[in-house]
């Protein structure tokens, strides 16, 4: 019986080691992932609206993805800014000039 626990402990231990190693080696990518959906949407919605001059509906259809739910999008047309919330992150992009289009904050 002790032997079974010992083996089980070793297996679990190795699995934890693998997980910890994976997290350590990929922490940069993993920790920054939650910001990705809202950043992507904020920047591309801003450019779609203010550089390409398309409608809000067309732009939302353009950036739509089915993987991560979006919690909210704010369109500030006068201020030429788009803010998006998803995965506990909020990101915003604004239109800076005719030549330089949009940039993420």
């Amino acid at each position: 019986m002790r032997k079974v626990f010992k083996i089980a402990g070793l297996v679990v231990g190795l699995a934890l080691a693998a997980a910890a190693t994976f997290l350590l080696l990929n922490w940069g990518a993993l920790s920054s992932f939650p910001a990705l959906p809202s950043s992507y949407e904020a920047k591309e919605l801003c450019s779609c609206l203010f550089v390409e001059g398309r409608t809000q509906g067309e732009c939302e259809a353009f950036i739509r993805q089915e993987v991560v739910g979006i919690d909210g999008r704010d369109f500030d047309v006068d201020g030429k800014r788009v803010t998006v919330r998803a995965l506990w992150s909020e990101n915003s992009a604004r239109y800076v000039s005719r030549r330089h289009g949009c940039v993420l904050d």
């Binding site: 679990v12 934890l16 350590l24 992507y40 920047k43 030549r99």
Partner: protein, 430 residues
């Protein structure tokens, strides 16, 4: 119990060492610019700076019926925005013998729309850098460490300008898009970890291979190069440089070029322009970098651009990269006879080159036909005839964008095109 503690200890004790080349590289052969492009240069022109002169297809020897078939294919289904299937062509512009002979728009786009070009941006970035080289601001053989302080450490400083242009920097990079976003370096650069200073982010990645030895498609290489350019120019001069050097001179009036927060132009991805303006880039290259009698690009720049990146021949090919045929930020049609790799666009002449971007954007230039075709789309599902594309591809070629089908139909409209210059180019040829 013992196993658990050991396991945790091992996991926490692992340090992630960097992988990179610490050994000094031997002196690489300097790249010398010179020589004519691998095609007959077009000189006698009604320059389209203020607008393209127009002609009917018949006037330039194109078959109107075949062109109509091509347009029918491209605009057959303006794929709705719910399931996003089918060809979703936004714009098509065709230039033959320096004249606008066909033009059509859909999905709310027009001749004036500055459209997102994604990686087509890379090809225009090549040309902006070429203008800078012509002005003597930098040289192809310069290491970026000579110009860009953040890159001195870790070997990245040894990467040369030519290595970046040929996507052979060796910088550690993962170029994946929406289908595999978590570990994607390009998504990190554009949107998260790297977005405030994209060039610095790319440089911080370190080397995975010695510069110049391995070809690997990388948006990082292009954007790092634009960061190097910004450092050379200084922030003030950099802000308007693409317009002063290129856009204003060839009449790309609709061009918008976005930057990161540090001011670096996102040369890999964020050029916006009308289809008519994008065709002007093609015209500049067909004219060997000369516009209205004035040289914008160095002699030999177009030749260099249309030469296969040498590292490509030493890089193992995958189904996804076998068709890539890289020049300097452009795609070529040479194939690699030594490895039994046929030219990627068998329907088109072998001297055809292209700028291509994500979701169906392209500028195809056919020097032997004096023809430029711009097609801007928003395709999300591709035809199954593309190697490496196996995720939900569309088996019916009439229902999805197929580059080969597009080129076949285009060649059918240019009588005499079929068979023109189709002998594969040997290594080292251009």
């Amino acid at each position: 119990m013992v196993g658990l503690v050991v396991g945790l200890g091992v996991g926490l004790g692992v340090s992630s060492g960097g992988c990179g080349s610490a050994a000094a590289t031997e002196e690489a052969t300097p790249v010398v610019l010179g020589g004519p492009p691998p095609f007959e240069v077009q000189t006698a022109r009604e320059w389209p700076t203020a607008g393209w002169p127009s002609a009917t297809p018949a006037e330039v020897g194109l078959d109107p019926a075949a062109l109509a078939t091509l347009e029918e294919y491209l605009f057959a289904r303006n794929g709705d925005d719910v399931d996003r299937r089918g060809l979703r062509t936004n714009a098509f512009v065709l230039i033959k013998d320096g004249k606008l002979v066909a033009e059509r728009y859909a999905r709310g786009y027009s001749a004036e729309t500055a459209m997102l070009t994604w990686s087509v941006s890379k090809s225009i970035s090549n040309t902006i850098v070429g203008c800078a080289v012509h002005e003597g601001l930098l040289n192809l053989s310069d290491t970026i460490g000579q110009h860009y302080p953040p890159a001195v450490d870790g070997g990245v400083g040894l990467v040369r300008v030519t290595d970046l242009l040929r996507m052979s920097s060796g910088i550690d990079w993962s170029e994946t898009y929406e289908t595999s976003p978590v570990f994607s370096s390009v998504m990190g650069m554009l949107y998260t970890r790297g977005r405030a200073d994209m060039a610095a982010f790319v440089a911080s990645r370190g080397l995975a291979a010695e510069p110049g030895t391995r070809w690997s498609y990388s948006s990082g290489d292009t954007t790092l190069l634009m960061g190097v350019l910004r450092t050379i120019l200084g922030d003030e001069r950099n802000a308007d440089y693409p317009w002063v050097a290129l856009f204003d001179r060839i009449g790309m009036k609709t061009a918008v070029f976005e930057r990161d927060a540090a001011g670096t132009f996102v040369g890999s991805s964020y050029l916006y322009a009308s289809a008519r303006d994008l065709a002007k880039w093609g015209m500049l290259l067909l004219s060997d970098g000369v516009w209205e009698g004035e040289r914008l690009l160095p002699e030999g720049w177009v030749r260099y651009t249309l030469t296969m990146a040498p590292a490509y021949y030493d890089t193992e090919l995958t189904p996804g990269t076998v068709d890539d045929n890289p020049g300097a930020q452009v795609y070529l049609n040479h194939g690699d006879p030594a490895r039994d790799v046929p030219p990627p666009w068998p329907a088109a002449p072998v001297d055809t080159f292209a700028a291509q971007g994500h979701w169906g954007k392209s500028i195809f230039v056919f020097p032997s036909l004096d023809m430029i075709a711009v097609r801007m789309g928003d395709d999300r599902v591709y035809a199954c005839d593309i190697p490496g594309h196996d995720e939900s591809c569309e088996p019916d070629p009439a229902k999805a964008y197929s580059k080969n089908r597009y080129l076949e139909l285009l060649m059918a409209a240019a009588p005499g095109a079929v068979g023109v210059g189709t002998t594969p180019v040997a290594r080292g040829g251009g």
